[in-house]
Subunit: 479 residues, 2 copies
């Protein structure tokens, strides 16, 4: 084994230091590299390939529900950003400003988009005139800037990649339906592709998007029992439309303001993916999203026929539509095992002279370390079945983690006690008041995650103020 | 026909005002909308769908030749941009500067990437150490900013979308092979997907990319016989590697500087597509790139069975893998014909009660206005064949335009005379001197397009200075 190639080093264990474990994984699995600008990172091929697979899943669902991709400008004039009052208050403190073009000072400074509601509104004001022009069902893939103070790869960047959907509808009902439809698409991709179970719900007014009437969210639980917001969908009513003077002639030729939504999922979800499934050997990727689903490692590849058999096996699996990689580099099998474990490849096939003689190979699962011997006859089906099993088992384990770490609290003190001793999510009733929400943060250190669609009756009163409860709510410490 | 939907208006004719014709097409075919920032545009769904199809063609070819997608930061610190001297001289005058983050002045100003060589180099300096780490074959899809003075949709924007490939190789030979391989991929996509014939060649030193040792180009001819640079591929030697301190241990463990390339194609090519194929009725799109290849227009759709027959036809063609749209809106057939002609849909199928009774439909070609009647039996094959014929004919006509408008010039005066009376490209011999290149610009108003790979012997001396010629060269007025 050559000494000039990096060794696969062990990483910090989760228990020892979860934050350091995370940093080790994102760098040693070669997902990212740091750039010289704080909060801006390089997505390396393996990291970007994960994003491309998530993009494919989302984009096909967007298109199947009638959405069209567009591209808005990257820069927003300050005056345009200021048109909707709540929106600018929410975003102005954290935007990056372009003030010079070449050697000239700009007459008006331009911010690099932190989100594009204002740009979509400006465009719609130009092109929407009649009920025939509605609905507009648009989506954009791009990167945005938000000048955050503290940053972490994927989880909180000054730049991140995302998609932002923006839609405009003739009626409030249609817009609300769209808002919930898109939330369900996020939940579908999270649960069925990323193997990340989610809680669907509505954000409190305190936590909703700047300018929205209502924000809906999918909330995920990480290995350390903290919360990660996986995607959000916003209902705007006609507030933006009125601020931007968008109106259309309805079928009775009456001028009406349309209703609007937006929804986004970002590369942040990759951070969630890592912290949901990873372990002390590195990344663990669900087969549906893994850039490489199967790695073939030849054993004793200098022996006659091993390389050829490995190539044949690789070709067979590729033909069956599986994403497979043959690692025929000159590293040792042990080095390769560690490397592909670090990268979270769901399934490893080991193939040596004795296996070949017996017409078998060894299948090693990444998610639970099980090893079985499988016949090369029909190996495509065995692999496909195994990948399905891995996907399902990963979801089940994550669901168990989520369910096992939501605890009811019937008083502020109980909530604080649970958080300080056990962590996880708290569920409780709530009066709907901002004051109680702030008190919960103060005393127990948790923020509201959402008012879940699946409501529970945990009592009649708010455990914080004792007034009548209007909803059940989930609390947690969030990334 | 309802009055609240925009009428399909006629557009300025090409002969009357080519520039206005172009502007009419990009707006009335709903490719773009202007934003409130000069030079930044909205790519509307139809325009973006064309780009998505071009992306698919390029991306699959990049991946088939072993390239991986990555994402670099959007911002470049001033000090990083300045590391390669020629590069910064070329780009510094036209970049947009971010100077504030939130309400704070930045310690160092950051430019929005005009191109990403410096970022790739910074990353490679971190991760390339050994011959095992090479080659790096990377590509990035993104948007970039260049603060141009004059702007036109697609052709010259302060923001444009593109892909930029960046590769790093152990040897100069490998890097040069890569440079030419990628140019050939651009030529392939231009000729075989966009039906745009190209001249492949090398740029003069004056016209090459800032920091490159050699730039290769594909040059296209527009309807007005002006030139458009369709894509470029650059060979950098080891200049950037040395400036950024990238080196690797070769197999003999000797530290060596790697060799580098970059190559890009942008949304500019859509401007070229429009000006290569469009006509006085609007856009004309080649079938391989058209978002909608076939539009079905029912005639007398209120009559029994027409809508159903149109839907059945649509389903049949979709199943055959064709991109087909049924226009069942309540506009008149005439309005629809004009609308889809404006949008350049390659093939229109008209279907009325009489056609249905006879088991036929009318096929109308966009590119040459031919109309034929075809049996509904086997219509999938008739359509597929017709689309192939349209694609081939569009290429042939464009090639004829190109070939018919390149004229040899044997003196500076002859060149000037040809340009002022006939326009088009000039071909001549050239001594290789910058002075002659500048003189040609001065006297005939043309810039050098490229030294074509297909060299011609048009004499022994440079027609400008009379010194011995070293190459044949193409001149033209360029977009």
């Amino acid at each position: 084994m050559a000494g000039d190639k990096k060794q696969v080093e062990s990483i910090t264990s989760m228990k020892e230091d979860f934050a350091q474990w995370y940093t080790d994984v994102v760098t040693k699995a070669e997902l990212i590299d740091y750039s010289s600008v704080k909060g801006l990172m390089v997505m390396r091929p393996y990291g970007f390939a994960i994003w491309e697979n998530i993009q494919k899943e989302l984009d096909s669902r967007f298109k199947a529900t009638g959405h069209e991709n567009v591209q808005m400008p990257m820069l927003i004039p300050e005056s345009l950003l200021q048109k909707e009052k709540d929106h600018v208050e929410g975003f102005a403190p954290e935007v990056a400003w372009v003030t010079m073009g070449g050697s000239e000072e700009l007459a008006e400074r331009l911010c690099v988009r932190p989100t594009s509601e204002t740009l979509f509104c400006e465009h719609w004001q130009h092109v929407v005139h009649s009920w025939r022009d509605l609905p507009k069902l648009y989506n954009q893939w791009c990167s945005v800037l938000r000048w955050e103070k503290t940053t972490r790869p994927f989880l909180r960047g000054r730049e991140f990649l995302w998609q932002e959907g923006h839609t405009l509808h003739a009626t409030a009902e249609e817009a609300m339906e769209e808002t919930l439809r898109m939330l369900e698409i996020y939940a579908d991709v999270a649960e069925n592709c990323l193997a990340m179970p989610v809680i669907r719900g509505r954000k409190t007014d305190k936590e909703k998007f700047a300018g929205a009437e209502a924000t809906y969210t999918i909330e995920c639980m990480m290995h350390d029992h903290k919360a990660l917001q996986g995607g959000t969908s916003h209902y705007f009513g006609d507030g933006f439309a009125k601020a931007f003077d968008i109106c259309f002639a309805d079928k009775q030729n009456k001028l009406t303001a349309p209703h609007q939504t937006s929804w986004g999922m970002s590369t942040r979800i990759i951070g969630g993916l890592i912290m949901t499934h990873g372990d002390d050997n590195g990344l663990v990727l669900p087969p549906k999203i893994a850039p490489v689903q199967i790695v073939i490692v030849p054993v004793a590849s200098h022996k006659q026929g091993v390389t050829e058999a490995a190539q044949e096996l690789c070709g067979k699996l590729k033909e069956a539509g599986l994403r497979v990689k043959l690692d025929d580099s000159d590293q040792s099998p042990g080095w390769k095992y560690a490397e592909h474990e670090m990268k979270g490849v769901p399934l490893r096939l080991e193939l040596g002279p004795r296996d070949i003689a017996q017409g078998v190979c060894v299948m090693a699962r990444r998610d639970n370390s099980d090893k079985v011997t499988a016949s090369l006859e029909g190996i495509e089906k065995s692999c496909a079945d195994m990948l399905d099993a891995i996907q399902a088992d990963m979801y089940s384990r994550a669901l168990e983690n989520l369910k096992g770490n939501i605890r009811p609290a019937y008083s502020l003190e109980e909530a604080a006690e649970i958080i300080s001793t056990k962590g996880g999510f708290i569920k409780s009733m709530w009066c709907g008041g901002l004051e109680c929400e702030l008190k919960m943060k103060d005393v127990a250190g948790v923020s509201s995650r959402c008012m879940p669609f699946e409501q529970e009756h945990l009592g009649d009163v708010c455990p914080i103020c004792g007034k009548p409860a209007v909803t059940s709510i989930i609390w947690g410490v969030a990334y």
